[in-house]
Structure formats: structure tokens, C-alpha cells
């Protein structure tokens, strides 16, 4: 067993391209899932008829099925009935659908903590329910649930490697591809592990910083 550092150097450009794809696909999905989570949580909290039970079913379904099966359904299943998306966008769709279910619950958990008095006060001031939601409740809820939101985002980033199974050239795919060609398993696995750990660490630090920052007004 020999460890070849130069091999890693030689593969860095390809790995960097893979990393970029990972970051792109996760970044877009994280943004979509947070927006969808906010909308979904608002709908569930305001108990919009019809939409609320639909969302409940959606959340339960996503939580109780494997991501891999969801991905295969979207990438292989949908085109067979004529709905086809490019590889990249099916990846975004899979990850966003998956993460939105968790974000809805995260943000709803935050909305629950907003006091009922604020709701009454806002209505008394003549605000419409959605104005109350947008201007009063949502900002407060996001502050409460930011840790959970970022947690789900970290999971999403880690789960973006599921997309290698359908052939999206993100970093895991690139690394596994190199392993299949050159059998430098240890080197590539090390790079892969370190990259993911650094990304996760970076996001955790960001989450801690944000929490610290958001609590500034409440510290003595």
C-alpha cells in the first residue's frame, strides 16, 4: 500500500469541478427548500383548507421513503410518462423536494413559538393575516428555527452525494470515477472525506455564528 500525494495534486482540477457541481446543486436546493419551507409552514400554521392536509401528506411521504427511491422515481420514473428534466435539474428537484419537507416542519416549529398576543395585536392594527405572517410571525420564527434550518441544509449538502448514483458529476462521482480508473482508492477516499467534513464544519460554524449574532439583542 503506497500513498501518492502527487496523484491527488494531479486530480485536483477535476475534483474542484466536482466540488463546484456539489456546491451548485446543494446551494440552489437549499435556497429553494428554505423558501418552500417558509411557504409551507405559513400555510400549515394559517390552516388553509385543502392545502394543509395535502402538505401533511407530503411531509409524511417524504420522511417515510428513502431518498434514493425518490431520486430514482424522479430521474427514471417521470421521463417514462413524458416528464423529463435534465440531470442537474432532476437533482435539484429531488433534493429540494426532500429538504422542503423537513424545512416546513422546522419553520412551523418556529411559528408555533410566536405568541398569540402578537397575532391579536396585528389583527387589531388592521393587518391582514398574510401581512401578519410576512411582517411579524415569519421573521420571529426564522430566528427561532435557524439552527434546525441549517441542520437540514447540512444534511442536504451531505445527501447531494446521492446524485452520483444517477451520474451527476459532483465530487463523489468524480472521486469514484477516478477510483474505478486508477485504483487509488485511499487517496480519493481521503480527499472525499476531508472535503465533506470541512464543508459540514464550515456550515456548523456559520450556524453557531449566526445564532450568536441573532441573540445579540437579547444579551445583557
Amino acid at each position: 500500500m503506497d500513498f501518492d500525494v502527487h496523484y491527488i495534486y494531479a486530480q485536483l482540477p477535476a475534483l474542484a469541478r466536482g466540488l463546484l457541481v456539489t456546491l451548485e446543486v446543494s446551494g440552489i436546493s437549499i435556497v429553494i427548500s428554505i423558501l418552500a419551507g417558509m411557504a409551507g409552514a405559513a400555510i400549515k400554521t394559517m390552516r388553509v383548507p385543502l392545502l394543509t392536509p395535502l402538505l401533511n401528506g407530503y411531509v409524511e411521504f417524504i420522511r417515510n421513503t428513502p431518498l434514493l427511491a425518490q431520486m430514482f422515481f424522479i430521474y427514471f420514473g417521470l421521463p417514462s410518462i413524458g416528464l423529463s428534466l435534465s440531470l442537474f435539474w432532476s437533482g435539484v428537484l429531488t433534493l429540494s423536494l426532500w429538504a422542503s419537507a423537513y424545512q416546513i416542519e422546522n419553520i412551523r416549529g418556529g411559528l408555533v413559538t410566536v405568541r398569540a398576543g402578537l397575532h391579536n395585536a396585528a389583527l387589531a392594527l388592521g393587518m391582514r393575516p398574510w401581512q401578519y405572517m410576512r411582517l411579524i410571525a415569519m421573521p420571529l420564527a426564522l430566528r427561532v428555527s435557524q439552527a434546525a434550518i441549517l441542520n437540514t441544509s447540512i444534511s442536504l449538502l451531505k445527501n447531494s452525494c446521492f446524485l452520483q448514483a444517477v451520474g451527476l458529476a459532483e465530487i463523489t462521482y468524480v472521486a469514484m470515477d477516478r477510483i474505478a480508473m486508477d485504483f487509488r482508492t485511499l487517496e480519493m477516499m481521503l480527499v472525499l472525506g476531508v472535503t465533506y467534513l470541512l464543508l459540514v464544519l464550515f456550515m456548523s460554524l456559520f450556524s453557531a455564528w449566526l445564532e450568536h449574532r441573532l441573540h445579540k439583542p437579547f444579551r445583557m
Binding site: M1, N64, T65, A69, Q70, F72, T172, T185, L197, L201
Partner: protein
């Protein structure tokens, strides 16, 4: 419908394999989780820290990378593992790390005065752990643990990627075979069916978990400790275990 009838035996075999994988992983992760959970509440700082960092390491890595490392990486160290064994090992490492967090949270949720009282009554450290701390911790561990079981069932689908013929893989094979032999693509029906079956299994399990949670919760209990002692410790690992 014909599709299902023709392949019933094959699909059944896949489902059994998924079940076997889940049960074996559950068993081994429980062992690992108990040991690591207990070790992470150890009084020795070195033990505590090394276990905690191991847990964080395995929770920080994507499960797929873990699976690939065991299956493709172990042979370099002279350890050739079959796909079946590798998937069980990698899921055990992952499940053990997540379970350890649940166990640790449960142990820490037991109010300190319980332990102090037991010590004051002259119980030995081991007696306190086995008779006082563990039974009370189980109450908060069990519901979270059933939640983890659904995660394990879902995670066994990763066996597909390294060639274990579990439920998901059997569906894939059917798609391949029908496409080649009969000339039409049944992807939509097959994958929808797969999703549905996983959904049935996992929602039964999570329903069970929720019932356990209601039954074992401290609310309405005679000598209920303050609610704050229970929830955050337990909630955190569940929120995190979304892989």
C-alpha cells in the same frame, strides 16, 4: 398488475433481504450505540472526548461515502468484504454513531437528584447505572430509537449501490429486464410501487414511535420533572439524524 404478479417471488425475496439488513443493522447498531453512549458519559475526559469526536466524524460523513469506503476501501487493507457484510458494517457505524447520541441524550435527561439520592442510599455506581439511570433513560430513548429504525430501513436502500439485492435493487432489475425483454419501460410504475411500499413500512414504524412517545412522556405523570429536562437533549439528535 401483471408486472407485480410475474415478479412476486423476486420482489418478496428483495423485501426479505431489506428486512434482514434492517434487523441485523438494528442489532449491531444497538450494541455499538449502547457502548458508545455509555462511554460518552464516562468520567474520564479522554474516553469521553475520543468517543464524542468519533461520533461527530461518522455523523459528519455522508452515509454513501461511508458505504463506499467500507466496500471499496477496505480491500486495500487486505479485507475483502462481500457487499452484504460491507453494507451491514457501514450502516452499523452510522447507526451506532446516531444511536450513541440518542443514548447519551437519554442518560443525561435523567435528573441528577435521582443519581445523587441513589448514591446517598449506598448504591454502587454500577447499581445506580443499571437500576436507576438506564430504566429512566429508556423512557426517552425508546421513542427516538424507533424513529431511528425508520431511518435504518430507508438507509438499507443504499445496498442497491454496491449490489446487494434488496427491495430497491430487485425493482431496478425488474425495470432492466422488462425494458430489454418486453420492449417497454415500466420505471414509473415500479418506482412508484417501491416508494409506496417503503412508505407503508416506515409510516407504520413512525406511527408506533409516536404512540410510544405519547405513552412514555412525562406529561401527566405523578412525579413529573420539569419539561425542560427532557426535550432539548432528545430532540437534537433526532433533528440531526436526517440522512
Amino acid at each position: 398488475m401483471d408486472l407485480l404478479l410475474n415478479n412476486l417471488a423476486f420482489v418478496g425475496k428483495g423485501l426479505l433481504m431489506t428486512l434482514a439488513l434492517s434487523l441485523l443493522t438494528l442489532f449491531f447498531s444497538t450494541v455499538v450505540a449502547t457502548v458508545m453512549g455509555l462511554a460518552s458519559t464516562s468520567r474520564l475526559r479522554t474516553v469521553r472526548w475520543s468517543v464524542r469526536s468519533l461520533t461527530e466524524l461518522f455523523r459528519g460523513l455522508p452515509l454513501i461515502v461511508n458505504v463506499f469506503f467500507i466496500y471499496f476501501g477496505m480491500p486495500i487493507f487486505g479485507l475483502e468484504l462481500s457487499p452484504f457484510v460491507s453494507i451491514i458494517i457501514s450502516l452499523t457505524i452510522w447507526g451506532g454513531a446516531n444511536g450513541a447520541e440518542i443514548v447519551r441524550g437519554g442518560l443525561r435527561a435523567v435528573p441528577a437528584h435521582q443519581l445523587n439520592s441513589a448514591l446517598a442510599l449506598g448504591m454502587r455506581a454500577r447499581q445506580v447505572l443499571l437500576l436507576i439511570q438506564l430504566p429512566q433513560a429508556l423512557r426517552s430513548i425508546l421513542p427516538a430509537y424507533v424513529g431511528m429504525l425508520t431511518q435504518i430501513v430507508q438507509a438499507t436502500s443504499l445496498g442497491t449501490l454496491i449490489g446487494v439485492t434488496e427491495f430497491m435493487r430487485s425493482g431496478q432489475s425488474i425495470v432492466d429486464r422488462v425494458t430489454v425483454m418486453d420492449g417497454w419501460n415500466p420505471s414509473f410504475a415500479v418506482y412508484a410501487g417501491i416508494l409506496l411500499v417503503y412508505f407503508l413500512i416506515c409510516s407504520l414504524l413512525s406511527g408506533w414511535g409516536r404512540r410510544l412517545e405519547r405513552r412514555t412522556s412525562f406529561d401527566g405523570h405523578r412525579d413529573a420533572p420539569p419539561a425542560t429536562m427532557v426535550s432539548p437533549e432528545i430532540a437534537a439528535p433526532i433533528l440531526k439524524a436526517q440522512t
